[in-house]
C-alpha cells in the first residue's frame, strides 16, 4: 500500500547525499505534531501543564530534528524526496510524501526554531487564559500543517498544507471568539485566503493537467526542458499560483486580512502572521521559481510589481497605526512585499534570505510587543510610553529587532535587504529600486515612531507595568541573537553559504547573486534607514510627540486615506462582501422561494386547480353526469315509454300492426 520512492537529484559540481536515515524518517516532522495535537486534545486537561508540555516536547523534537538536518545539509548537502501513493485517479497518481532539500530544510529550521521559542513564550503569556489547552492543540496543529506545506513534494500536498495552515490560523485568530470582532477577523482571514486559494487551485489544476503529474520535481523538470504543452499555459498558471501566494503572503490588495489577524493572541501573531505562515506564499514562489524563470518570465514582472506596491503601500499605513501590533503587522506585509518583489526580480536567494532573517527579527518584535501588551494590557501605543525603565530586557531586544528591521549593519536585516536592493539595481529596475529605498526609509521611520511611543517618553497608561517572566524574556534574548547573527550566513565576499543551502536543485537556478557588496545599493539602503530613524527620532523625541502621543505629521488628506487603509476594506465590504452576503444571496433566496418554488407550487396549484376543473367539470359534470344520465335517462325515457304500456290489448295490437304495415309498405314501395 505504502509506496516509498526515492529520487535523488545530483548533478553539477556540488555533490549531494540522499540524506540517509535522517531524510528517510523526516516524515516524523510532519506526523509528530498531529499525533501530539490528538494527545493534547484528549489528555491535555489532565496533564499538569495542561498539555503545554506535550506541545513543547514535540516542537523540541522537531527543532532538534531540523537542526540535525540543517547540520547534515550544511556539511554534505541533501537532496531527496519520498512519495506515498494514496490513490490513483485516472492516470494521475495522488501522492503525498516529503522532500528533504535545502529549501525545505531551511524552512524546517525556521519553523522549528521560531515555533519552539514561541511555544516557550506562550506557556507564560497564555497562562490563565481561557482554552489554554486548545491553544496549544491549535498551535501544534499549525506547526504540523506548516511542515506538511514545506515538506511537500507534490502540488496536492502543498494545497493541503496551505489550507490546513489557513484553518489553524482561523482557529487561532478567533481564539477569543466570544467577541464578534475576533471571530469576524478569523473569518475574514480564512475567506480572503480562500479566494486566493481559488487561484492556487486552478493553477495547480492547469499545471497538473498539462504536465500529467502532480510532482513538483517533474513539473520543474518539464518546465526547464521547454515542454510545448506547458509553455502555452505557463503564464496563466504562473499568475494563478501567484494569486494563491498573494493571499497567504498578504500581498496588496489581498493583504487586508493580516492586520485584522492581530486579533489573535500575540504568540500566534509572532509565529504565524510574521515568521512562518505568511511566508508560505514566498515559499511557493521560491519552490516554483525555476518554472517561473524558465516558462513565465513575464509573470515574474507582475510578481515584482505587486511586491513593490505592497512594500510601499503597507509601509505607509504602518506609519499611521496607533496599535502596536498593527504597526508590526503592516510592517510584515511590507517586508513580505520585499520578498515577493525580490522573487519577481529574479533574486531567489535574496528573497529567501530576507525570509530567513525576517522570520527571526519579526518574531522577536512581535514577542517583544506581546511582552509589552502583557504588561500594560492594551494594544494602543497611546497608552504606553516610557517602558524602557520598567522593561529593560524587552526594550533592549525590541531595539535590536527594530534596528535589524531598519537595516543597519551588522544586524540581519541589513544584509538581506541590501541583497534585495542590489538585485533590483542589477536588474536595472531603477524605479522599483528607488521605491524599495523609500520603503526602507519608511520602515525605519515607523519603527522609530513605534519605539518612541512605546518605550521612550513617559508612561501614559494605567497600572504598573513590570518586566515579563523569564519564560518570555528568554525567547526574546534567544531571538535577538538570531536577529543579529542570522544575516551573517550570506555576506557577499565573505561567506555565501546560504545560497548553497537553498539552491540545491537538479536544475540549477539561474539567478543573479552578488559576488560582493553593491556599494550604490548598500549606501542608498543604509542612508534611507538612517534618515528614517533620524526623522522619526526628531519628530517623536525632539518634538516631544512621544510625550503626548500626538502625531505631528498629520497631513490631510493623506493621513486619513492611510488611516482608512486606502479604503480597501470599505471597498470590499461595499462592493463585494455586502452585496454577496446580503443582496445577492437574499435575491437568490427570494428567487428560490418566489420563482422556482412558486413555480413548483404553482405547478401543484395548477395541478390541483386542474384537478378541480377536471373533477368538477369533467368528472362530476362530464363522465359522471353521463353515467347518471344514462340511468336517469333510462328512467325518464322508460317513464315516458311506459305510458305506451296501457295494458290495453287493442293499442298493443294497433302498434304492432302499424309497425308491420309500415315496414311492409317500406319494403314493397320504397326499398
Amino acid at each position: 500500500m505504502v509506496n516509498f520512492k526515492s529520487t535523488v537529484f545530483a548533478e553539477g559540481e556540488l555533490v549531494y547525499t540522499d540524506g540517509g536515515i535522517l531524510a528517510e524518517y523526516a516524515w516524523l516532522l510532519v506526523v509528530l505534531p498531529f499525533v501530539a495535537a490528538l494527545v493534547i486534545t484528549f489528555t491535555g486537561k489532565y496533564l499538569p501543564l495542561k498539555g503545554a508540555e506535550v506541545a513543547l516536547t514535540t516542537i523540541g523534537v522537531i527543532f532538534l530534528y531540523s537542526a540535525a538536518l540543517m547540520y547534515l545539509h550544511i556539511t554534505g548537502g541533501v537532496v531527496n524526496e519520498f512519495f506515498i501513493n494514496v490513490g490513483s485517479i485516472g492516470v494521475f497518481d495522488i501522492e503525498f510524501g516529503w522532500v528533504v532539500d535545502g529549501l525545505s530544510i531551511m524552512m524546517y529550521f525556521v519553523v522549528g526554531t521560531v515555533a519552539l521559542l514561541v511555544f516557550i513564550y506562550a506557556t507564560n503569556y497564555m497562562e490563565g487564559e481561557i482554552r489554554y489547552t486548545f491553544f496549544f492543540t491549535s498551535l501544534t496543529l499549525f506547526a504540523g500543517s506548516m511542515l506538511v506545506l514545506v515538506s511537500s513534494p507534490t502540488l496536492i500536498q502543498i494545497l493541503i498544507g496551505w489550507e490546513l495552515v489557513g484553518v489553524c490560523s482561523y482557529l487561532l485568530i478567533g481564539h477569543y471568539w466570544e467577541k464578534k470582532d475576533n471571530s469576524s477577523a478569523a473569518m475574514k482571514a480564512f475567506i480572503t485566503n480562500k479566494i486566493a486559494d481559488v487561484g492556487l487551485m486552478i493553477g495547480i489544476i492547469i499545471l497538473a493537467l498539462n504536465t500529467g503529474t502532480l510532482r513538483i520535481s517533474e513539473i520543474l523538470y518539464q518546465s526547464t526542458h521547454n515542454y510545448e504543452k506547458l509553455s502555452t499555459v505557463a503564464f496563466v498558471a504562473a499568475i494563478l499560483l501567484f494569486i494563491g501566494a498573494m493571499g497567504k503572503s498578504a500581498q496588496f490588495p489581498l493583504h487586508v486580512w493580516l492586520p485584522d489577524a492581530m486579533a489573535g493572541p500575540t504568540p500566534v501573531s509572532a509565529l504565524m502572521h510574521a515568521a512562518t505562515m505568511v511566508t508560505a506564499g514566498v515559499y511557493l514562489l521560491a519552490r516554483m521559481f525555476p518554472f517561473y524563470k524558465a516558462m513565465a518570465p513575464e509573470a515574474l514582472d507582475v510578481v515584482m510589481l505587486f511586491g513593490v506596491i505592497t512594500l510601499l503601500a503597507a509601509g505607509l499605513i504602518a506609519v499611521v497605526q496607533d496599535d502596536l501590533k498593527k504597526v508590526l503587522a503592516y510592517s510584515t506585509v511590507s517586508q513580505l512585499g520585499y520578498m515577493v518583489a525580490a522573487i519577481g526580480s529574479g533574486a531567489y536567494t535574496a528573497a529567501l534570505f530576507h525570509l530567513w532573517t525576517h522570520a527571526f527579527f519579526k518574531a522577536l518584535l512581535f514577542l517583544g510587543a506581546g511582552s509589552v501588551i502583557h504588561a500594560v494590557h492594551s494594544n494602543s501605543m497611546l497608552e504606553m510610553g516610557g517602558l524602557r525603565k520598567v522593561m529593560p530586557k524587552t526594550f533592549a531586544t525590541f531595539i535590536i529587532g527594530t534596528v535589524a528591521l531598519a537595516g543597519l549593519p551588522p544586524f540581519a536585516g541589513f544584509f538581506s535587504k541590501d541583497e534585495i536592493l542590489a538585485s533590483f539595481n542589477h536588474e536595472g529596475e531603477t524605479t522599483f529600486f528607488f521605491i524599495a529605498v523609500i520603503g526602507a526609509f519608511i520602515t525605519a521611520f515607523y519603527m522609530t515612531r513605534a519605539v518612541s511611543l512605546t518605550f521612550l517618553g513617559e508612561y501614559r497608561g494605567h497600572g504598573h507595568p513590570h518586566e515579563s517572566h523569564n519564560l518570555m524574556t528568554t525567547p526574546l534574548l534567544t531571538l535577538s541573537v538570531f536577529a543579529i547573527a542570522s544575516g551573517w550566513v550570506n555576506i557577499p565576499g565573505v561567506y555565501t553559504g546560504f545560497t548553497d543551502w537553498v539552491t540545491t536543485r537538479k536544475n540549477k537556478i539561474v539567478e543573479y547573486h552578488p559576488e560582493s557588496f553593491d556599494l550604490f545599493a548598500l549606501s542608498s539602503g543604509l542612508l534611507a534607514g538612517l534618515l528614517g530613524i533620524g526623522l522619526g527620532y526628531y519628530l517623536y523625541q525632539l518634538q516631544g510627540s512621544a510625550e503626548t502621543g500626538d502625531d505631528k505629521i498629520k497631513i490631510q488628506p493623506i493621513w486619513s486615506v492611510l488611516e482608512n487603509k486606502y479604503y480597501l476594506d470599505h471597498f470590499y465590504f461595499k462592493f463585494v462582501i455586502d452585496p454577496v452576503k446580503i443582496n445577492i444571496s437574499k435575491a437568490v433566496d427570494k428567487f428560490n422561494t418566489n420563482v422556482i418554488d412558486r413555480f413548483v407550487n404553482g405547478f401543484g396549484q395548477v395541478a390541483s386547480l386542474m384537478g378541480g376543473v377536471v373533477y368538477n367539470n369533467f368528472d362530476q359534470n362530464g363522465i359522471d353526469k353521463l353515467l347518471n344520465m344514462s340511468s336517469t335517462g333510462t328512467d325518464n325515457f322508460g317513464g315516458k315509454v311506459k305510458l305506451l304500456q296501457t295494458g290495453k290489448t287493442q293499442q298493443y295490437l294497433m302498434l304492432f300492426l302499424g309497425g308491420v304495415v309500415t315496414i311492409s309498405l317500406l319494403i314493397l314501395f320504397i326499398i
Binding site: 287493442q650 293499442q651 294497433m654 300492426l657 302499424g658 304495415v661 311492409s664 309498405l665 314493397l668
Partner: protein, 172 residues
C-alpha cells in the same frame, strides 16, 4: 257461364257488405246475425268452387255451433241488446281504419299482381276423395285435432265453472 260469374260476383259483394256490417253495426245481435250471413255466403262461395264438404262443415260448425255459442256469450255478458253507442272505441276508429285499409291495400296489391289472369276450373264434387285423404294420409292430425277439441272442452268447462273460491272473492 255468364250467370255463374254474375252470381259469384254478387255473392262476393254480399259477402263484403255483410262483413262490413259485422264490424260496423252498433248492435251486438246484428253483428252476430251478420256474421251468420257472412259465413253462409262463404259457404255459398265454397259451393261455387265445388268444395261442398267444406261448405257444409262451415255451415254446421260455424252457423250451427259457434254462432250459438256467441249468442250465449252475448247474453251472459249482459251486453246491451239493441243499439249501443259504446260498442266501439271511437278513439281507435281512425287509426284502426287506416291500418285495416293499409293491410287491405297491401294484400290486394300483392294478390292482384300475383295472380294476374289466373283462372279456376271447378271440377265437380270431391267429397269422396277428401274423405279418403283425410282418413288416410291426414289421419294423425285429424285425431290430434280431436284431442285439441277435447282439451278445449275441458278447458272451457273449467274456466266457465262457478268456482266457490272465486265467488267468495267476488262477494268480498
Amino acid at each position: 257461364m255468364e250467370i255463374f260469374e254474375i252470381v259469384t260476383y254478387f255473392v262476393l259483394l254480399l259477402l263484403v257488405s255483410t262483413a262490413v256490417r259485422v264490424v260496423t253495426t252498433s248492435n251486438v245481435i246484428h253483428a252476430a246475425i251478420s256474421l251468420v250471413f257472412t259465413l253462409a255466403l262463404t259457404s255459398v262461395l265454397f259451393l261455387l268452387l265445388s268444395t261442398e264438404f267444406v261448405a257444409l262443415v262451415l255451415v254446421l260448425v260455424y252457423i250451427g255451433a259457434v254462432i250459438v255459442l256467441f249468442l250465449f256469450g252475448i247474453m251472459i255478458t249482459r251486453a246491451p241488446l239493441g243499439k249501443n253507442a259504446e260498442l266501439d272505441n271511437d278513439k281507435n276508429k281512425k287509426l284502426g281504419a287506416a291500418i285495416a285499409g293499409s293491410i287491405f291495400f297491401l294484400f290486394s296489391y300483392i294478390l292482384v299482381n300475383g295472380f294476374e289472369g289466373e283462372v279456376v276450373i271447378t271440377s265437380g264434387s270431391s267429397t269422396e276423395l277428401l274423405g279418403e285423404i283425410l282418413l288416410s294420409r291426414f289421419v294423425f292430425p285429424f285425431e290430434l285435432v280431436s284431442f285439441v277439441l277435447l282439451a278445449a272442452l275441458i278447458g272451457g268447462i273449467t274456466l266457465a265453472r262457478k268456482d266457490e273460491a272465486l265467488i267468495d272473492e267476488d262477494q268480498v
